[in-house]
Symmetry: C2
Subunit: 129 residues, 2 copies
DNA sequence: CTGCTATTGATAATCATTCTCAGCACTTTC
DNA sequence: GAAAGTGCTGAGAATGATTATCAATAGCAG
């Protein structure tokens, strides 16, 4: 059960972190393929869910597919995402954390977790339109 | 292009509003079928996306499927959802609205929208475990 | 180097969702 | 009330993303 280091996993990690925003597993696979890597689709999916499980990547669902992005490990944060180009900014939201916890408690809910993401058009995409 | 009133659409609307929490299209279809309705799967999907488009239902994505729920039309709100039984409480979040807007503006983003949902275990599900 | 076993990858299988299209059912018109 | 027009329905096919299968491969310890 020892975890092994393979070039495939590193390739996925690298491709993820060189991306500005959220990317789908499919497009990450295509990108790796086009850059000459003979990596397999199943492996990309496995690597991505591993990274997400270890806290090295964030994921969110959009339009029926999962998008992934490298994130700063160990920190809890949310995202501000351009809905046109996918550019993503990590944002702190202590106020929202506290709000979520208190709302949950008010209604008798325990073990609160939350999904908070903000979408918009980034400055660059605005100027293009 | 006039919209017609059919018993199928009403059946979906009824099944949605008699549910306590978010339901998937598939399970709504199964439930309707089991209660004797000969409705078709495609029709359930169509009715749900119509309702969502008209603002009579909210939707969210979870684990690769879309979940729907009847909501109070015309009002913007968020949800507190039991991750065990699906029980859902509509919550107001003016503070969060303002926060989202200002965060977007701070980073040069326009046309902000946001996804804010809080998950937890409801009081009832806690006592069961 | 050798053996053990986690990992890979081509492909099949799954699953939710959407599309297709012929038949059906409201509505309006005569 | 019958015929025509057209939106709606539903069974099944098509799609697209994700996961499972499983034999072959390749890290890693000794």
């Amino acid at each position: 059960m020892t975890k092994r280091v393979t070039w495939q996993r590193e390739a996925v990690r690298g491709a993820l972190s060189s991306s500005d925003g959220f990317v789908s597993a499919q497009s990450l696979y295509s990108a790796l393929r086009e850059s000459g890597s003979p990596i397999g689709l199943a492996t990309v999916y496995r690597a991505l869910s591993d990274l997400a499980g270890e806290g090295e990547a964030d994921s969110l669902q959009q339009e029926g597919e999962s998008l992934y992005r490298a994130c700063t490990p160990g920190s809890h944060h949310h995202h501000l995402i351009c809905r046109n180009c996918g550019l993503t900014v990590e944002i702190e939201a202590d106020a929202v954390e506290a709000w979520a916890a208190s709302v949950a408690a008010d209604h008798g809910f325990t073990q609160p977790s939350h999904v908070v993401d903000v979408f918009g058009l980034c400055a660059n995409c605005q100027s293009l339109s």
